[in-house]
């Protein structure tokens, strides 16, 4: 059924008791339908601490993290109203708000956080994100390995049940940022059900967030309705969330026909939309989302990439600007370094000398490496997996063509399925000597993204000095000092060229014209659309989005199964 309601709901209240803002559609229309492509994804859970990489759409809405992120990526209070680091810098204390109630009638307390984190370290649970706290929270690594009981990890209740103490292995400056990932499970429910899977069943779902689960069908749609017992501080105007799950296919027509309220567009979609009278004038929202860097990595322990000159030659022979312009624009920016401008401590100008487009230099570097005009350079396979958002297929072809034509070498492409690609890349030592991958941030700090290149990290590259810089940066809490450290680390990384950084991805979105609110407005970096981490409990966009009157008569179709 398609509703093209143009009447106003301003001033009335939605199911959560929120007064609708001026220009809003009636309460019945305050639902938000987002599309999800399930290709290559598997939906195992709705909670971060149950499963991270296989979370279903609309996850983490049933609880409140200690801190949240605003549109400008600033840490703002969440369940914790304040926090401070201890004098010895080895622990952090968070003070929780009182009176946030779980739907089973219990109050949200430090115990929920403690139990959740202990559960995360439980070897039996085998949590897929446990590396995140390893080496950060005290004893966490040992607990995961089963050497100490989970009760010995450094997460404790403080002086009262509203105080949470996190002890770290050493001084860790970025704990508040990292605490974005603290959407807790209910300790009571966790005990009752033995795992966090209780939240994928509407009958057993326990929530302290504004939504409760009404339908979980990971092959078709997931629906969250208003949690009428909600007592928390953040009340959204949109009281129903629908995650439509599609097994592939083009999203653009689904958006055009009003099946969904929003889509993330690919560079190709933009070109198609521009030809369509209905979509050509739509505003393109774009933002860096998780600040993805797309880059070519090398196995630096194997020839020919064990030769730094070879790697540098490859770095200098890519004309990033024109590549981005013709294949990705406006949804990417050229990457001269690993961190995207706008990301904490990112620098660019200092790195350009090592990565600028300079074919002559590239050639001479290759000659110095012993392969004049590519002569003698062994044939190399360049592995990749397909990703439409980043137009990988075109990019890798352009790259290959560039390298082969500029340097006179012979690189051939080999596509793999995602599973095989990562299985082979992550093998120790890696089974792929040259491949194309991305990395997006997990939390908003340089330490996160840069740690990818730590020794024994993702790629087969070791640099003691780089490791030292990262350790120093993590312990340092003064911003200016950190900037210095991280700048040096970035220079070090770029100069050594264990990879060739190609572009930083920008996510583009179309929102149906009736989707409005401050959440979509430009942030201080000039990006608009809902910023990372999305329309989630970890973000303040929840309160800042509403469904306005459908003045443009956009063909909105109300999904089945919502009231």
């Amino acid at each position: 059924s398609s509703s093209q309601n143009t009447s106003s709901g301003a001033g009335t209240k939605n199911a959560l008791g929120v007064k609708l803002p001026a220009g809003a559609a009636p309460a019945a229309d305050q639902y938000y339908v987002q599309p999800f492509d399930s290709t290559g994804a598997s939906y195992k859970a709705l909670d971060f601490y149950e499963n991270v990489y296989s979370r279903a759409p609309l996850a983490d809405q049933f609880d409140i993290p200690l801190v949240r992120l605003n549109q400008d990526y600033q840490i703002v209070p969440g369940a914790a109203s304040s926090w401070e680091q201890s004098a010895d810098k080895n622990s952090w204390t968070f003070h929780l708000r009182k009176g946030i109630m779980w739907s089973d009638g219990k109050e949200l307390t430090a115990a929920d956080y403690v139990e959740t984190l202990r559960y995360s370290a439980d070897p039996k649970h085998a949590w897929d994100f446990s590396w995140f706290w390893s080496g950060v929270i005290k004893n966490y690594t040992d607990a995961v390995a089963g050497k100490v009981p989970t009760s010995s990890i450094g997460v404790k209740q403080g002086e009262d049940k509203y105080t949470l103490v996190i002890e770290t292995e050493g001084p860790v400056a970025y704990i508040p940022s990292a605490c974005l990932y603290t959407t807790p499970l209910s300790a009571a429910a966790l005990h009752k059900y033995g795992s966090g899977s209780y939240n994928i069943n509407p009958a057993t779902c326990v929530t302290c967030g504004p939504y409760k689960l009404t339908k979980f069908d990971p092959t078709a749609q997931i629906v969250l309705g208003p949690n009428k017992k909600y007592t928390g501080p953040f009340k959204p105007t949109v009281d129903t969330l629908v995650g439509k799950i599609y097994a592939g296919g083009d999203m653009l027509p689904r958006f055009q026909t009003g099946q969904v309220d929003e889509i993330s567009v690919t560079p190709l979609d933009l070109k198609i939309a521009a030809k369509n009278p209905k979509t050509k004038d739509l505003h393109l929202y774009k933002n860096p989302n998780d600040f993805e860097i797309w880059y070519t990595f090398f196995d630096t322990k194997k020839p020919p990439f064990d030769n730094i000159k070879v790697r540098q030659a490859l770095a200098h022979s890519v004309d990033r600007d024109s590549l981005v312009k013709s294949l990705l624009a406006p949804l990417a920016t050229p990457a001269y370094g690993y961190l995207m401008p706008g990301y904490p401590f990112a620098v660019e100008d200092q790195l350009k000398p090592y990565t600028n487009y300079d074919p002559a230099k590239a050639k001479s570097l290759l000659a110095e490496a012993g392969y004049p005009n590519g002569k003698g350079f062994p044939p190399v396979k360049f592995y990749w997996w397909a990703n439409a958002v980043s137009n990988t297929e075109a990019v890798v072809q352009a790259l290959t063509h560039t390298w082969n034509s500029v340097l006179g070498i012979n690189i051939t492409l080999q596509q793999l399925d995602k599973t095989t690609f990562y299985a082979r890349m992550n093998k120790k030592p890696t089974d792929i000597s040259m491949g194309f991958v991305s990395y997006g941030m997990d939390y908003f700090d340089a330490s996160n993204m840069l740690s990818v290149y730590k020794s024994d990290g993702r790629h087969n590259w070791n640099n003691a000095q780089y490791d030292k810089l990262l350790a120093k940066g993590a312990a340092e809490s003064r911003s200016a000092a950190r900037q210095e450290i991280y700048t040096e680390a970035q220079v070090q990384l770029t100069k050594e060229a264990p990879g060739v950084f190609i572009f930083h991805l920008l996510y583009g979105y179309y929102y149906a014209p009736y989707m409005q609110g401050k959440a979509l407005a430009k942030n201080k970096n000039g990006y608009d659309g809902i910023q990372w981490p999305g329309f989630a409990a970890t973000s303040d966009s929840l309160q800042n989005l509403h469904v306005a009157q459908n003045k443009q008569n956009w063909p909105r179709q109300k999904p089945s199964g919502i009231s």
Binding site: K271, K275, L323, A398, L416
Partner: protein, 292 residues
């Protein structure tokens, strides 16, 4: 003695059968035209480097998705590559797979089918089970697993499609040999003391080969399809190699932006499949000397 014989052209006895087949084929206009086009496609494929104005991988990012012009007769694709050239090189890849895979299938399947049809008994029983096993395994699944194991590429795709195509050839060869095994002319050959291998090859094969050739020709479009399916899943031919199936999948997204990108490979495939199936039908009739 009156000889009620037909055409009286003097022909050499060896080329006689093929000559007669060619005569019959020629009379079928649709088959003839299709055959000519099919041969043209193969020629284009063979001489692609000579015919194509550009290389299949030659890029010019500044010329992305431009329409037909004097420089690019059919326009360019997203990476600014000449579409005409890609279609021509695509013929090379597509035809290599489309002809190569059935060839592999035939080379494996026909001897097995012949053995099972001719000797029967245990050989036949085992072959029949093998048919079932191969039919029962979902092809896509098997392909994905094998590709994950061995990687993909023109040659591997060709081998995979060939290895899974053997059943069809074996079945057909088996049926043919069973049908022919007890025919009088075969018994006559046995009575003559012709050794078994010679009966199988010289006496029975020419009669069995007609349907096999036809099946082969029909497999050509079927294989183009299958290969295109793998490209659809991103597991077929590797970039930047040009291949029609791949070009379809890449190009169909551009239907509203640049029609030629989307249509060209579809037209190529349609043309190839149709000409090959018509040519196959024509061959079937032509290779049967008793048809009018």
């Amino acid at each position: 003695m009156t000889m009620a014989l037909g055409r009286s052209a003097v022909r050499s006895s060896n080329s006689g059968f093929w000559h007669a087949a060619w005569y019959r084929y020629r009379r079928n206009r649709l088959a003839l035209v299709s055959g000519v086009i099919a041969v043209l496609i193969v020629l284009v494929a063979l001489f692609a480097p000579l015919i194509a104005p550009y290389g299949y991988a030659a890029q010019d990012l500044s010329q992305s998705l431009v329409g037909p012009s004097l420089h690019h007769l059919l326009g360019t694709d997203e990476l600014g590559r000449d579409l005409l050239s890609r279609a021509i090189y695509g013929a090379q890849t597509s035809m290599t797979i489309a002809v190569g895979a059935p060839l592999v299938g035939a080379l494996i399947g026909i001897p097995i089918g012949i053995a099972s049809g001719w000797f029967g008994g245990l050989v036949d029983a085992i072959t029949l089970r093998a048919f079932e096993i191969f039919t029962m395994v979902p092809q896509i699944l098997l392909a994905l697993l094998l590709i994950a194991l061995f990687g993909s590429g023109v040659l591997k795709l060709l081998l995979f499609l060939g290895v899974t195509a053997w059943v069809g050839f074996a079945r057909l060869a088996r049926a043919q040999y069973i049908a022919l095994r007890d025919r009088d002319f075969v018994v006559a050959a046995r009575a003559m003391g012709v050794p078994t291998w010679r009966i199988i090859t010289v006496h029975v094969l020419p009669s069995a080969v007609g349907p096999l050739i036809v099946f082969f020709v029909q497999q050509v479009p079927a294989t183009i399809f299958a290969a295109a399916g793998f490209s659809f899943l991103g597991l077929g031919v590797q970039d930047p190699t040009a291949d029609w199936g791949k070009m379809i999948n890449d190009g169909q997204q551009y239907v509203t932006i640049n029609l030629t990108v989307a249509l060209l490979p579809i037209v190529c495939i349609a043309l190839a499949t149709l000409t090959f199936s018509f040519a196959g039908d024509g061959l079937r009739d032509a290779l049967d000397p008793t048809s009018r």
